[in-house]
């Protein structure tokens, strides 16, 4: 059999392939050759074959048949074989294959090899993909190597120890004695990896953390030497002495000083020194400053130092380099909760970042802007944020809209401003608004009583312009249904539409292709409600009867029920379609309360509510109104109701007003159809306001005479 081709030849051949299919063919041919060569147990060329296999693996072709060969290579005596073998093990094997356990013995022998590079290879492989069983077996060897004087091996052993600790946290104590004089090393590589090891141990165990706190002075001293040492050619990166080590030490100091006053105090000087002396013209300087700022913000530093840190971040925001601005915004976001006032000083710069071209920066700036909004700056900030909403990418619009709603709700200076802001959001980013905001907005509008006319007029105008944005259409049609009388009555400042125009618009919504089924439901209900507010009842009757045969089941059900309302229950129609009361905001359901049912055998609880009071004397009991299950459908709530065993017919009460001081009564007749002869029980809940505060009263009637239900 001819000698297998070299890796270079294979690469060259593959690169001449012009199509994916050609490449696949070549690779398959080569795989077959490699497989037969493996079967022949050829020692001389195994290394070459595995190298080729690894290349094919990188391109994405299956290479699992080479796993055992990697193990054979590792067991070989030659360094070349071992090198490729370990590389193959790292790329092809992981702890999910049982094969990897066979490596344990090889690695153990290699960890005690005479050549440091072989030991290095073994440490590297163990540190990359060692499973917990392997780590348990070999932890002792790693610990031994951690104490050696060879700096090359020592640094690799340190990182390998980190991996062992991650896999088997119980072994952490084993490495404790070896860490004793890790920090007195001169070699920067060993120092660096030792700091990583100490960081890992401190992060995992609070006991270790308190144990290592005593190292803070030593760390401070190392850091000081690095800054003051002047030019040292071997560690210099762009004029700064070993910035990687500086950053690592700063991070460890952060962890050590986090909730400890003494350590924090010991670090204050050095942090101030680093913050003021580091050169910021190159990226390395900024990396160190960034880490310093994070450390200052995290430990219990004094306030002067914190202000210095935030000013550094503010300077970062003005930097030309986008990366610096990005990290500055990220860190400001983390600190805005604790140091709110200091961050406010940089508000204008942050708002400018909203106009940046970079998507990541815009997102960070948006989040930070929302965090900075408060009662004082709400108007200015909202202007900027609405402008941003207009011009930003679609992926931001949903988050921005929700943020605007939340901020407006918390800090709105006036109801009119609030409603204007909501309108603006609905018209610009209407289709991206979240689903739950529609009920929230409706609840908000109902509660701002004096704004009803203004709101409905503006919503109507917006609807005339554009019916494609569903949340806007839903809110508008609901409002038109509720306040349609205000719309046509001349209370608005501008020209008001006539009734037929309004009905045209609503009917247009019903037939338009742009409307979703939910929107159509809203529109139909709105039209129905207008039957008590407008005079063109016949037209409305016609529309409703048409939709009684609609294909959409929801629409059909509504239309049929409304039809019934026109025919059999016409006397109840005014009562049912009255103005909605002020709703309480409930967390789970929508804005309305629904009729509750207590299982199948009891009649419904009659939930009583009253309309929003305009002007009423304080000591008069408010009118009782009843909300039927149907009305909750009108309000688009979706709570399931248990099946009924009764049928109730509520007739209108005898009067709207209960006179005060027991001077009269209000009677309401309820007809009960009780085919299963179940016992009658009634529960009444009275809610009213007395001298401005809400009162609630529950009563139960249990003593219906048996003849009434038997």
């Amino acid at each position: 059999m001819p000698a297998p081709i070299r890796l270079r030849e294979l690469i060259r051949t593959i690169r001449t392939a012009r199509t994916q299919a050609e490449e696949r063919e070549m690779i398959q041919k080569e795989c077959a050759a490699i497989r037969s060569s493996f079967r022949e147990e050829d020692n001389t060329y195994r290394c070459r074959n595995v190298a080729k296999l690894l290349y094919m693996h990188m391109l994405g072709y299956p290479a699992h048949f080479g796993q055992l060969e990697c193990l054979k290579l590792i067991a070989s005596q030659k360094f070349t074989d071992k090198r490729i073998g370990y590389l193959g093990a790292m790329l092809l094997l992981d702890e999910r294959q049982d094969v990897h356990l066979l490596m344990t013995n090889c690695i153990k022998n290699d960890l005690n090899h005479s050549t440091q590079y072989v030991q290095g290879l073994a440490l590297c492989t163990l540190g990359c993909m060692g499973s917990s069983e392997m780590c348990r077996d070999l932890a002792g060897e790693v610990e031994k190597l951690l104490k050696t004087s060879n700096s090359y091996l020592r640094k690799k052993a340190a990182l390998c120890a980190v991996h062992v600790i991650r896999k088997v946290p119980e072994l952490m104590e084993m490495f404790l004695p070896a860490t004793k004089n890790l920090l007195s090393e001169k070699n920067h590589g060993v120092l660096h990896t030792s700091v990583v090891l100490l960081t890992e141990m401190c992060e995992r165990s609070p006991d270790m953390l308190s144990h290592f706190r005593k190292l803070v002075p030593q760390l401070v001293r190392i850091l000081k030497n690095l800054i003051m040492s002047g030019y040292s050619p071997e560690h210099d990166v762009s004029g700064i002495s070993d910035p990687f080590l500086q950053v690592r030490i700063l991070r460890l100091l952060r962890i050590l000083g986090r909730s400890d006053d003494d350590s924090s105090e010991a670090m204050n000087d050095i942090l101030a020194q680093v913050a003021t002396n580091t050169e910021t013209s190159k990226n390395v300087g900024n990396a160190i400053l960034y880490e310093t700022v994070l450390t200052i913000m995290d430990i219990k530093s004094e306030s002067g130092l914190r202000v210095l840190a935030i000013n550094i971040l503010g300077r970062f925001l003005l930097n030309n380099d986008k990366n610096i601005r990005y990290v500055a915004l990220t860190s400001l976001l983390k600190t805005v909760q604790t140091d709110h006032n200091a961050v406010q000083r940089h508000r204008s710069t942050i708002v400018d970042c909203l106009k940046d071209l970079d998507v990541s920066i815009k997102r960070r700036a948006m989040e930070l802007s929302f965090a900075l909004v408060n009662g004082n700056n709400i108007r200015g900030m909202m202007k900027e944020l609405l402008y941003f909403l207009d011009s930003c990418d679609p992926e931001f619009k949903a988050d921005c809209a929700s943020g605007v709603f939340l901020a407006a709700e918390k800090y709105a200076p006036s109801k009119r401003w609030h409603i204007d802001t909501i309108m603006r959001v609905l018209t610009t980013a209407g289709s991206y608004v979240r689903d739950d905001s529609v009920p929230n907005l409706i609840q908000l509008i109902t509660n701002s009583v004096e704004m009803h006319a203004y709101t409905v007029q503006r919503l109507y105008k917006a609807l005339l312009d554009d019916i494609s944005q569903q949340p806007l259409v839903q809110v508008s049609s609901w409002c038109i249904g509720e306040y349609g009388d205000l719309l046509v009555s001349g209370q608005c400042e501008e020209e008001e539409p006539i009734q037929d125009e309004v009905l045209d618009v609503l009917e247009g919504l019903l037939v338009s292709n742009l409307s979703t089924p939910v929107t159509r439901g809203y529109a139909l209900t709105a039209i129905m409600k207008l039957s008590t507010r407008f005079s063109s009842v016949n037209r409305i009757k016609k529309v409703v009867s048409i939709y009684g045969s609609s294909i959409d089941v929801e629409l059909q059900q509504r239309a049929v029920e409304y039809n019934a309302l026109f025919k059999k229950y016409d006397h109840m129609r005014p009562a049912l379609l009255e103005r909605m009361p002020i709703m309480e905001k409930t967390a789970t359901n929508g804005p309305t309360e629904i009729v509750q049912t207590n299982g199948e055998t009891e009649p419904s609880v009659l939930d009583t509510k009253h309309p929003p009071p305009v002007t009423q004397p304080a000591n008069q009991v408010r009118t009782l109104k009843q909300f039927w299950y149907l009305h909750s459908v009108l309000c688009c709530c979706s709570d399931p109701v248990s099946p009924w065993t009764f049928q109730l017919q509520l007739l209108s009460p005898s009067s709207n007003v209960v006179p005060a001081l027991n001077q009269g009564t209000v009677t309401q007749v309820i007809r009960v159809l009780n085919p299963q002869k179940q016992q009658l029980r009634m529960r009444i809940k009275l809610t009213y306001t007395h001298k401005g505060s809400p009162v609630q009263d529950l009563a139960e009637v249990n003593n219906f005479p048996p003849q009434s239900w038997q």
């Binding site: 590079y117 440490l123 986008k322 990366n323």
Partner: protein
């Protein structure tokens, strides 16, 4: 911790892929494709940080990348690494490759993937930064390469010959041999009687 180091070219062909967390082979290829997709869309003058794609851990992990000529160097890291520090690390890596390969270009990476892996193994181990000093890294790599060469035996003879010639210290050969006007005086030989 560094989760993965990927190098691919402007068309998405992987030139080096090293994962420090376990993924199946299919997932690894998908991650490479997804990362290429995210990184290639970026403009030239935006920042070098991105949220990670869904496959590699979503918004917990960040992609820090640098674009050199035809290659993208992408490091996927979690929140314990400093972003600016990783940018510097990428710079050190590329400079090391440059020193090892003498004006490195994409072809070097293509034909010497195993060597690039060896250099990377001296810099990053188990997802953590091992050594950042360029000279130190190069010394170690050279020493190991020498060990390999010494074992190569007869098959390595041509390679050894080539490197021997490269390292040979020849004195400067004169380009032109300018023999100016040499007047060769022919001696006056006495007539032979």
């Amino acid at each position: 911790m560094i989760k993965a180091i990927l190098i691919f070219n402007n068309h998405g062909k992987p030139r080096l892929s090293k994962f420090y967390e376990h993924y199946s082979e299919d997932t690894e290829q998908q991650i490479i494709r997804e990362t290429f997709h995210l990184v290639s869309k970026r403009d030239e003058n935006v920042c070098n940080f991105l949220e990670g794609g869904m496959l590699i851990g979503g918004s917990d992990n960040k992609l820090i990348y640098r674009h050199y000529a035809t290659l993208y160097f992408v490091f996927c890291v979690d929140s314990s690494e400093s972003e600016l520090g990783i940018l510097d690390l990428i710079q050190v890596f590329v400079e090391t490759l440059d020193k090892c390969f003498e004006n490195v270009c994409e072809l070097d990476l293509i034909f010497h993937v195993d060597k690039v892996h060896n250099i990377l193994a001296e810099m990053v181990m188990g997802g953590m930064v091992l050594e950042t000093n360029m000279n130190e890294i190069i010394t170690q790599v050279d020493a190991q390469n020498k060990m390999e060469k010494s074992e190569a035996g007869i098959a390595g003879a041509p390679a050894r010959a080539v490197s021997a010639v490269k390292n040979m210290n020849l004195p400067e050969m004169p380009r032109n041999i300018n023999i100016g006007d040499i007047s060769i005086k022919v001696p006056n030989l006495p007539s032979f009687k």
